[in-house]
Symmetry: C2
DNA sequence: CGGCAAATTGAAGTATTTCAACGTCGGTGG
DNA sequence: CCACCGACGTTGAAATACTTCAATTTGCCG
C-alpha cells in the first residue's frame, strides 16, 4: 500500500500554477521552482509519508485529497486534518514528520526537494511571504477544526465538517446553495475516516447523517454524495462561527473600528 | 474589563530576550526590535484583543497566560488555545483577528507595531525564520490540541490538557515527575474555562479531575493546584501520541531511515 | 451469482449533560 | 467580629447522547 506512485513526465509547470500564485513570484523564483518540481501521482489509499521517517522533500497537492493522521498507542487512528488542492505539507526547517500522510483519493503531488526549496525561500522574499501566508491560513483552519471537533453533539461536528468541505471544494457550494438551494457535495472520505476525523465511530456518523437529513439540512443521495439544502442551517448547527465559512460565503470582514492592544 | 493595562517603563530589552532568541538575530534587527517594543501589563481577566476589531499591533507574551476564544452565536464561548510565555499573537499580514484574546492571569506583553514589524521581517531573514519556525510550532501544537479535544472520554481530554500544560510550563514538570514522582502543577484557568477549552461542562470537568485522582494519576491539593503522580500514565490516558509531550520529555525523535516521497 | 467491504439499523450498556442542591472561600457591610 | 452574598467547585439523580456489539442491507467486483 506504500509508495505506489506513478512518475508523470513533464507538465510540472501547469501543476505548479494551480498550486501557487506563480504570477506573484519573480521570474527567477518561478523558474527555479519549476525546475526543482517533480510531479507524482498516487492511487487512493497510498501512504505518502510515514510519521517519524525523515523526509527530504516537501509537497504541494496538485490534485486530490489526502489525510494527515496519527496512529495512537492502542492502534486507533486519528485524523488531524485533510489536505486539499493547493495545500503544502512536509516539515519545513525541521525534523521528521509527526504524522502519516495518506491519499484519500487519487492524487497528484508536486514534490520539491526540501533543501533546495528552503534555500530558495531565503533568496526570494516573495516566495517566503507566500509560504508564510499559507502557514497562517493553515493555523486558522486548524483552529476552525478545533471548534468543530470540540462540539458536544456529533451531528454538530458533522455539520461543521460539511460546511468546511463546502468552503474548500473547487466547486464552492456555499454561494450557489444560498440562491439555488441545492448543491451536490462529494464526501471525499469514507465513514471510517470521517469517524476518525470527528473523534467518534462509524455508527454515530451514519446516524448523524440521517439526523441532518431528517432535519432537512441535507439530502443523502448516496453514502458518498449528499446535497446541501441549507448551508446556513448547517453552519448554525455547527455553532455558527467558522472562519472558513465566512470566507467561503464571500463575507468581507469589515474592520469595525481601530483597536489598540 | 477591557484595556485595563499598565504601561511599564523601560525594561523592554530584557522582556524581549525572554521571548525571542535575540542572540540568533543580527545586531541591527535586535536593536530595531527593542526600539519598537513596548511593554504593557494586564490584570487577569482583561480583554486584550476583540475579534473582528482591526489591530495595528502584534504581541509576544512576556509573562502570564492568555486565552484565545471565540464567542458562538448562542453565547457559548469556546477557547481555541492558550498563549504562554514566548507565544506570539495578532494577525501578521492580514485582516482583523478571528477571536478574542483575554488574560487568564496577570500578564506582561511585548507590543510591536504591526507595520514596522512586517517591514523588519522583510529586511531580516533571520527574524523571518524565527517567526516562521514559531508558526510551524504553533501548527504542531494546534494539531496536538485536535488529538486531545477529539478524545471521546472527558477524563482523557483532561489528561491530555495536563500533559500539555506540564510540557509548556517554565518549571517543566515532565522530567522531574518521571524521577521524583510528584510535581505540583498550577491550573492556570478556572473550571469554566477548562470546560470551554475541552468542549464540555464544568460538572464533567470536576468529575474528570476526581476520576484521575481516584486512578492515582494526580492528587488534587486545591481546585487550582494538583500534583502529577504519573505523567506517563496521563499521557497514555490521553491517547499516547502528543508531540508536545515527547518534546518536553527531552525525547530526540530519531530519523529511522531516509524516506522518499 | 457469490463474496466482500462499506453502510445502516437495532438494542443494551456506558458516559455525559442537565437541573438542582450543597459546600467553600473571600469580600462586603452591618 | 460576624452574617450575608456571590463566585466557584463539587455532588447527586434523572434525562440524553454516544458507544458497543450484533445483525442486516447495500453496492461493487470477480
Amino acid at each position: 500500500m506504500t509508495q505506489r506512485a506513478t512518475e508523470v513526465s513533464g507538465a510540472g509547470a501547469s501543476a505548479l500554477r494551480r498550486v501557487l500564485p506563480m504570477d506573484q513570484l519573480p521570474e527567477a523564483t518561478a523558474s527555479a521552482l519549476q525546475q526543482m518540481c517533480r510531479i507524482r501521482s498516487f492511487a487512493a489509499g497510498a501512504t505518502v509519508v510515514h510519521a517519524g521517517e525523515m523526509q527530504n522533500s516537501l509537497a504541494f497537492v496538485a490534485r486530490g485529497i489526502l489525510r494527515m493522521q496519527k496512529t495512537l498507542q492502542d492502534g486507533r487512528q486519528h485524523i488531524v486534518g485533510l489536505l486539499f488542492e493547493g495545500d503544502m505539507f512536509g516539515r519545513l526547517f525541521d525534523g521528521p514528520p509527526l504524522f502519516d500522510v495518506e491519499t484519500a483519493t487519487h492524487s497528484d503531488l508536486c514534490i520539491l526537494p526540501r533543501a533546495r526549496f528552503e534555500a530558495l525561500l531565503l533568496e526570494s522574499p516573495e516566495l517566503d511571504q507566500v509560504v508564510m501566508r499559507s502557514l497562517l491560513h493553515d493555523l486558522d483552519r486548524a483552529r476552525d477544526w478545533l471548534l468543530v471537533v470540540a462540539n458536544g453533539k456529533i451531528a454538530a461536528r458533522l455539520a461543521g465538517f460539511l460546511v468546511m468541505l463546502c468552503a474548500r471544494l473547487p466547486s464552492g457550494c456555499a454561494s450557489s446553495a444560498s440562491e439555488a438551494g441545492l448543491t451536490e457535495l462529494d464526501i471525499p472520505i469514507a465513514r471510517v475516516d470521517l469517524a476518525n476525523l470527528l473523534g467518534t465511530r462509524v455508527e454515530s456518523i451514519s446516524r448523524a447523517f440521517h439526523a441532518l437529513d431528517a432535519a432537512g439540512l441535507i439530502e443523502i443521495h448516496r453514502p458518498d454524495l449528499v446535497a446541501v439544502r441549507d448551508i446556513e442551517g448547517l453552519h448554525e448547527e455547527a455553532g455558527g462561527d467558522l472562519t472558513s465559512f465566512r470566507i467561503a460565503s464571500g463575507e468581507r470582514l469589515p474592520p469595525t473600528r481601530t483597536g489598540r492592544v
